[in-house]
Symmetry: C2
Subunit: 340 residues, 2 copies
Amino acid sequence: MSQALILGTGLIGASVGAGLTGRGWHVAGWDPDRAALAEALEMGAVSEVVSDPFGAAGEVDLVVLCGPAAAIIETLERLETDALVTDVAGVKVPVVRAARHLARFVGGHPMAGRESSGPGSASAAMFRGAAWILTEDGAAETDLKVMEETVEELGAFPVRMSAEAHDAAVAAVSHLPQVVASALVDLVASDSTAFSLAAGGFRDVTRIALSEPGWWTDILTENRQPLSELLRRLSAELEEWAERVEAADRMAVAERLESARRARKGLAPPVAAVRVLLEDRPGEIARVGHALAEAEVDVRDLQLRHATRGGGGVLTLSVTPGQEVRLAEALRAEGFRLVD
Amino acid sequence: MSQALILGTGLIGASVGAGLTGRGWHVAGWDPDRAALAEALEMGAVSEVVSDPFGAAGEVDLVVLCGPAAAIIETLERLETDALVTDVAGVKVPVVRAARHLARFVGGHPMAGRESSGPGSASAAMFRGAAWILTEDGAAETDLKVMEETVEELGAFPVRMSAEAHDAAVAAVSHLPQVVASALVDLVASDSTAFSLAAGGFRDVTRIALSEPGWWTDILTENRQPLSELLRRLSAELEEWAERVEAADRMAVAERLESARRARKGLAPPVAAVRVLLEDRPGEIARVGHALAEAEVDVRDLQLRHATRGGGGVLTLSVTPGQEVRLAEALRAEGFRLVD
């Protein structure tokens, strides 16, 4: 039986623990928050709690550091163990640097998460199908192999990268959108008439501005080099947009919108979408649920777009490709109208 | 019986038509796209089709101009009628200017829409609960009253504003986010490693980049003055963000994230949210549907957040305030775990 020690049993730590205990691992857990630790124990995400994390690190096969990036870096610097050590921080260059004294280290970043936090939202299924970056920097091939197997046990697919390539990539797809959403809210909220008219599109673009500020302050400042460079590039691009719009350069505006649309379409998840028109009356979702049960399809994603303050809408259901015809038939049988 | 003429029977025009015919209006329709017009007639969104739109405009109580902003402006300039004229364009200063020769004009903008287009997605319920801006510029009080009543018949709530205030507001909450989403996709898509790692947050922020380029080219260039000013302000703000991040100014970063989060929270729709944990297995949505039927609640919005390539997730259900306790009980009775 493999033995793991999880330092930090919040949302991600408890999800890793639940996944490992479910696969037969013995998992020791520690967290500065005693209530979070007790909850993780109660839900079976950890098999036992330890009181001395640094001592316990010498007695396991794998140490997993979870929690805010700054706490992970601080703990790494003080950690002494011959065990394989990994972490889940969203930034990797400073983490790999802080782990240089360790004999066996492979940095990790599961690209999954939820808006909520704490072990109460934890789930062994959280990493199913998600990419899990593993840093190659100075890692032994045997340790990378162990981590790849472990990550696969949790249902994720491992992706090897250098810490630097990881940090550049997440600066673009994660940290930059976070700053953009916050900057946009700040700018628009200063105009209360405008803000009161914000509808679906604005809500979508700015939803991530609801994320936990403390956690993001860590990530954004730790990844300052690639992020600040991207912020400057986007700033320059918006300045160019201002010129295009001001000059009413329809051709340039259309070209840019078209190229962005084409690229964004390439991001479509590997699922087939069925779009169904819902009327604004009670029981519509229940009827959709009934059709789903009849069709026996597995919904991977769904979203209801609605008017500013309610009123029907289009529900987009994304299913495994091949299942969309069956779902469409079941929805039509329930009397729904499908749209393109 | 009131008589209306709808010029442009696409998504919005056919929805207006369906709403008016449903309230007993006689609705004549015209569209340059004969197939769209036939579809609108078949679904009852228009009572009859006309072949001479400019002639027919003299024989009704209300003329409603729908379609792309540039087409609306062009049609307005050629229109001669003593009837009350309105439109649905997303930009109002150039529209009001093009209507100066008309005896009776009140510009309008229903703040509702869908990602799809064409009469096939049209619905009389589309405007239920949505704000519908009416321009006060040069409009007679009696005509504004008629438009307020008409808009209320369609289920929307009228909001009077000057065309200039409208254009400034939508530049902020609608046009600026559109450009930001497109610029962000363009920038990030140039790095294929990064782009392949894009997950839920990036998808949310950039979803509106999928919108129809032709339609948006019209709107963005027609509203060039307020939009280009806002683009320059956001560009400057991102430059400041780059400096904060580069200097690792944790206090300033945290302060900005916190103030944006506070403002965004103020945008929460007037609904109560219930968040339920879904496991990655078939039939989960059907069970949710069953709980919804049991609780007899009216879902206003729902969204499933999932991992990069599937794997359970948290489903957020938004219901009319007061119904959330009943819904939570029904979900727990189905064996679901709720999260904060």
